[in-house]
């Protein structure tokens, strides 16, 4: 009988269909009764650095009223926020030579040797022009990824060079280390500096001995190994932190 295999397949298919669509029919218990989520205070002692003035707490939104999530969604920095954040973290922003249109110039363009690039590229990075768009685009697009990388490279280069030439003045990157310190010669200072940079760039208090800093230590070790230098390694660490999603989102 040719029908027999067909019937077997049919029954098998129907069984699978039933299993797939008709499994658990009961709703989870949590969905039956309204939730009474209690906002949880963050551990204040570890959230703020020592000596930091007290700040008021903002209770988290209930998950039920927030699409099942705790707190609001993370957002990408706008171009203005990126510029301000780079300035705050490294003391510098992206400055480079750029050609801009200039109706007064015979060629129609002028080369500016020290253009503020994040300002010059603001439209490409999503700032509205209020002619064709009024909303800031904060999509984490490829363009943003590339240009944020360029901005971090420029700012970190300038910042590390400034630190190396700064003497005892306030340093942004090499705060607890010198250019002579390596992972072999002074691991304590290196890890303390990582911890300080995590707070500076990401606003996170991470203890120097935390394994969360291992990836930065590996990066530092790779780049500082000959023929590399520690200043190059600190520049790489600065770039890594300034291009990390923890820096580029809030």
């Amino acid at each position: 009988m040719r029908c027999a295999p067909t019937a077997v397949f049919l029954l098998f298919g129907l069984a699978l269909f039933t299993a797939a669509c008709g499994g658990a029919t009961e709703l989870p218990l949590a969905a039956k009764t309204p939730g009474t989520a209690t906002p949880v205070d963050p551990p204040r002692a570890s959230a703020l650095p020592e000596g930091h003035p007290d700040v008021p707490l903002v209770p988290l939104a209930e998950p039920a009223s927030n699409d099942g999530h705790v707190g609001r969604a993370a957002r990408r920095l706008s171009v203005d926020q990126l510029r301000a954040s780079l300035l705050a973290a490294t003391g510098h922003t992206w400055v480079a030579s750029r050609r801009v249109s200039d109706p007064d110039s015979p060629s129609g363009v002028t080369q500016i040797p020290d253009a503020d690039m994040l300002e010059a590229l603001a439209a490409t990075l999503g700032r509205p022009d209020y002619v064709t768009s009024t909303n800031e685009s904060i999509d984490p697009a490829v363009t943003f990824a590339k240009l944020a990388n360029d901005a971090a490279r420029s700012a970190c280069r300038t910042s590390v060079n400034a630190d190396l030439a700064a003497g005892n003045q306030e340093k942004h990157i090499l705060r607890y280390v010198t250019a002579r310190d390596t992972l072999a010669s002074n691991p304590t200072a290196i890890h303390r500096n990582f911890s300080y940079l995590a707070l500076r760039f990401w606003g996170r208090q991470i203890q120097p001995e935390s394994t969360e800093l291992d990836a930065l230590a590996r990066l530092f070790g790779k780049v500082s190994a000959p023929p590399g230098t520690t200043s190059e390694a600190w520049r790489a660490v600065c770039i890594a932190m300034a291009t990390d999603p923890q820096f580029l989102t809030y």
Binding site: T6, F9, L14, C21, A74, A123, T134, N149, E212, G228
Partner: protein, 490 residues
Amino acid sequence: MKHDDRTRIGLSKGSPPKGALSRRTLLRSVLTLTAAGFASRLGFPELARAAAQASSTRRFVFCYFPGGWDQLLFLDPRDTEANQKRFDDENRSTNLTETRYGTLDGYNGFSSRLVTAGNLVFGPATEKVNSSAPKITKYYQKIAIVRGINMGTLGHEVGYRYFLTAKFPLGSTARGTSLATEAAAQMQSTVPLPSLSLRVETYNEHRPGQYSSMRVDSLDDLLMVLERGKDMLERDPVEDALSEYAKTGAPCAVDVYDRRGLLTRMRGSDATARATLASKLADKFRFTTGNDPASAAIRQQYGLNRGEAGSPGARAAFAAQAIKQQVAQCVSVAIGTGTDTHFTGNVGHADLLYPGITALAALIDDLAKSPAPPELARLGGDTWLDHTTLLAFSEFSRTPMFNQFGGRDHHLTSSCLLAGAGIAGNQIAGASGDVGMGPGRYDFRTRQTITNGGENIKPEHVAATLLASAGLDPGGALIREEPIRALIAG
């Protein structure tokens, strides 16, 4: 009817055969339902949808004319000589439409005449009488026009974003995903930049990050994005170490904050940016300054002076290069100059509209003259135009009556142009009304413009047509409207 035809599932032109439901059909249906049930049960709707979608090699170019164009001058003109001069300006009080085409006679190379090619009729800003620039009418057999589109808004951003995503915005905030990103995602594009955008907004609401458009504001900025930056670290091993850190460096705790996928999309974009740098794509976009013969030929095709990077022609050349060099599969470009002219008449508007139309014509001409690569030609179609679908659109149009300043304000009813692969050319779908150019009614079943019944054509219908012309799924873009089947080739 062949056996295979009887078992085909989906749209069919023919009627079902006698005894339509064979055992095989039934079994396939049951197993398909079973698989779909399992897929959705296991939480793989994207997987299930992807499996159902055929991959396509189609290219798309979205050409945006910002500011709201005057369709009386381009895609939806009125013949003042026809029907006993019904649309002569003397009759404007009864048809609520005034053309004033006579103001163009002898102005800057324009004339008052309409331009006819096959079944298509264009307005007088489409071509200049003695110009040697490429003419859009040369390719009328590859071009279709949709008229009487109800944009539902008179706000620039709203109409613009409505056309970009085929979803009516919330206020002025875009909803949904840009069609370019949607098409790239459905095609599972594998070119270096699945979607590339020059001065056109892009949105990605539900597609993977690698299909988000790379958006730039100028050709210079594009080169900056594609080139290795001057502050890149000197030694490649250092850049490699940074790349490695970007992939694996962030601690797991950070992923707790990634419930909505932002960090995942950031990492995807970062990886794409690094891969783009490695592929040295910038060299393909130096045509505005290049001394090589290829760059010179591009400048000649688009009528560019050396160094001219911001004109409509340069932007059209950018789109063509992105397609022909296989850098991008979907390209969005603001090809027109702004036409938001409330205070100028036909002459001012035509001056602003014409460069974009000429650039569009040069782009179509370029794609039509450029041979497709062998791997595409093998699929049918010898030129790039045979593999590329173009859409030219604006956010809305201008009023059919002039205002007290002699200009035209914003008008709901608009038109658009479709061209190239998958489009049944030399056709017009829809119409604007004879009084006040309101959006007409269109019967999607009989494919006729009608006066009673039917429905307005909206951007959703155009988007569905565009996707369906490439065998893509409008439903995947959450578009519930029908395509305009009369405009789909084959």
